[in-house]
């Protein structure tokens, strides 16, 4: 089992390999691997230029950035044993937060609006979901948890009201003792829940009623509160269901069917992002080697783009920045046209899911 000994996480040699860069311009942080296969966390500017590159003790996944931009927490991939608290400007490691006994990180988290609380998606030994509650100013002490009401919790986002979080319960049962093995793939209970951050109370739950083999996993939030849900389909391969749903005040609506190009995504979306103004969403499929740009207002697929093993995606000046697990990245405009970012640093690392703006 490739688990990380808990002591090793604390003792990891953590080298910030590069000079700090001014953080005023747009930047991005992501997990990665280098050419030798060593796990990395790294950051770069909108042109792909290096901000920092540091060693990771195991494969990373998503990150949460504090509201003032001064802190980033990168989570280990599920079943994760640690989260790293970093200076997003320099990459300097400030703290390693170890998983609580009987709990495993699921790769995502979110800060509160005042930056004082961090919520992390976690599972227990049976695969059921909890949100771990961490007090940032008390050294990330784990001060509580509440259930997510489902198995396999994954993405977590703070709602614009600041008093609730969205959690995607992927629904696929896993066992942290058997990392990366999934059970119950043909029919499972996946949902998007809204939880009160004070009490943990369930405020709302949305399901995709027509298909019990869709796993709701990743989220993108528009400024108006609209949530895009990016899904993965585990049902029969001859089915090609839509893989994005939007949730707004009117409830959940799955995007239109086959003509929209869902087949390009090969049943799988790895990541989603909203444009800064909320008019567009982008989703990526490393399996399909493709992605789609979706118009929020019309709920239509506006453009498709291709990128081998393209997965990490974030809004960037001029469109969406998309990174590849084979190295490098492209800037995708709203109409789907893409421009490769010519930068040796960006090209030299293999970019993992996800990428977050810093």
């Amino acid at each position: 089992m490739t688990t990380l000994p808990r002591r090793a996480a604390l003792a990891l040699p953590f080298l910030a390999l590069a000079r700090p860069a001014p953080a005023a311009e747009a930047g991005f942080l992501a997990a990665a691997a280098d050419a030798e296969g060593r796990w990395r966390v790294a950051a770069f500017g909108a042109d792909g230029a290096k901000r920092f590159e540091s060693a990771m003790p195991a494969r990373g996944h998503g990150a949460a950035v504090g509201p003032d931009g001064g802190t980033a927490v990168l989570f280990a991939r599920r079943p994760g044993h640690f989260a790293l608290v970093l200076d997003p400007a320099s990459g300097a490691l400030r703290q390693v937060v170890e998983r609580a006994p009987g709990r495993w990180f699921c790769g995502h988290g979110a800060f509160s609006a005042d930056g004082g609380t961090l919520w992390a998606s976690e599972i227990d030994a049976t695969g059921e979901g909890v949100v771990g509650v961490y007090a940032v100013r008390r050294g990330y002490a784990r001060i509580g948890e509440f259930p997510t009401g489902g198995a396999d919790p994954h993405d977590v986002r703070l709602a614009p009201d600041g008093a609730s979080i969205w959690v995607a319960n992927g629904g696929i049962r896993t066992d942290p003792r058997l990392p990366r093995t999934r059970f119950e793939l043909e029919a499972f209970d996946s949902s998007l829940v809204r939880l009160d951050t004070g009490s943990g109370r369930l405020l709302a739950r949305h399901r995709v009623a027509q298909d019990a083999s869709l796993s709701l996993r990743h989220l993108a939030l528009a400024p108006d509160g609209t949530v895009a849900i990016a899904m993965q389909h585990e049902g029969p391969r001859q089915d090609r269901p839509p893989l994005v749903a939007l949730v707004d005040a009117a409830g959940l609506a799955v995007l239109p069917g086959p003509a929209a190009g869902w087949g390009l995504l090969d049943h799988y979306i790895g990541s989603a992002a909203a444009s800064a103004d909320g008019t567009l969403f982008a989703v990526t499929s490393p399996r399909g080697g493709a992605g789609l740009v979706i118009e929020a207002a019309s709920r239509r697929v506006r453009a498709a783009f291709t990128l081998r093993d393209g997965c990490g995606v974030a809004a960037a000046p001029g469109g969406f920045l998309v990174t590849s697990g084979l190295g490098g990245g492209v800037l995708v405009a709203a109409d789907g046209t893409q421009r490769r970012l010519e930068n040796p640093f960006l090209a030299g690392l293999r970019w993992d899911n996800h990428m977050v703006p810093i």
């Binding site: 058997l178 990366r180 697990g325 090209a347």
Partner: protein
Amino acid sequence: MPTRRALAALLALPALAGSAWAQPMEPARAALRAAVSRHVLPRHAAFTAAAAAFASATAALRTAPEAARADAARAVWAALALAFQGIRHLRFGPMEAFDHGFRITLFPDPRNATTRELAELLREGDPESITPQAFARGRVAAQGLPAAERLLFGEAAPRLLAPDEAFRRRLLAAIGANLLAIAQAMQQEWAPQGGAFGTELEGTPGGVFRSPQDGLLVLFKSLHGGLEFLGERQVARALGATARQAFPRRTEAWRSGASLALVQAGLAAQAELWRTGFAPLVAAQDAPLAAQVAQGYAAAEAAAAAIAPSLEKAVVQPAGRAAVEALLLASGQARRLLTERVAPAIGLPVGFNSMDGD
């Protein structure tokens, strides 16, 4: 299973990887030729031979409904199912054409299409609906190994000998003839004097595969996908959360009790693909890694061999479950080695996002 057109589109995607990922063509060509001549061709020949034996056994039973002939048909059904494990992971090209793979075995079958379609055929009793032409047009679930297993080993198996069940015997023989025709068609596609698909894999001007590296990539995906399918679909989905919640009837061949033997045969065949096609290529780059992968397959095969007395029974007993979990751990480790280490070591443009993402 991507279509041929989708595969062509995928291969045409812009590859971001720089020269660091490119490999000389000749080692890849040699690896491809070794895998085809020492693994793909003999395994297809064995499948065709087993299909011929099954076709003649079911034809004999149709001619004379005797218990000894039914027993003989059951024995050769098991041999044919095992032989299919020898090629099952090769889900592209000849197996993808005309839905050959689905028609041989529609598994998993969560909607129980096999039982439904079989019942329809038996109720209708129409010889026109079980001709090779009719099978090529539809009723994918009623023309392959699972349908034959139900007829031979299911509750209604004794009726195969009933005087008034001539159509049941005729249907079984039609399935036997159908499987033989599919086996011969696939073997012909691979044959050097026939479709020469192995040569196509090496790359042809204007072909789906432009270079040996493209062909090697497809074989690598078979290697990785084979372990994933085996772990998640053939093993994990029967395990359930606890012994009491296990699903022994989700195993692939619980009626015949052959599920564990199928898993073992699949592992052996996949290890053979590794040994013949990839091990020399990887050893030339990183000998310890090649040894590690070989040990990974050996560990998975040993773990499968330790499951007793059968997969169906093991999942409902504590000791049996531990053995099944050990198999999932071992196969998962081997799979991660392929994704994280082997692909970059031999310069295959396949990323960790598509192979093992969240």
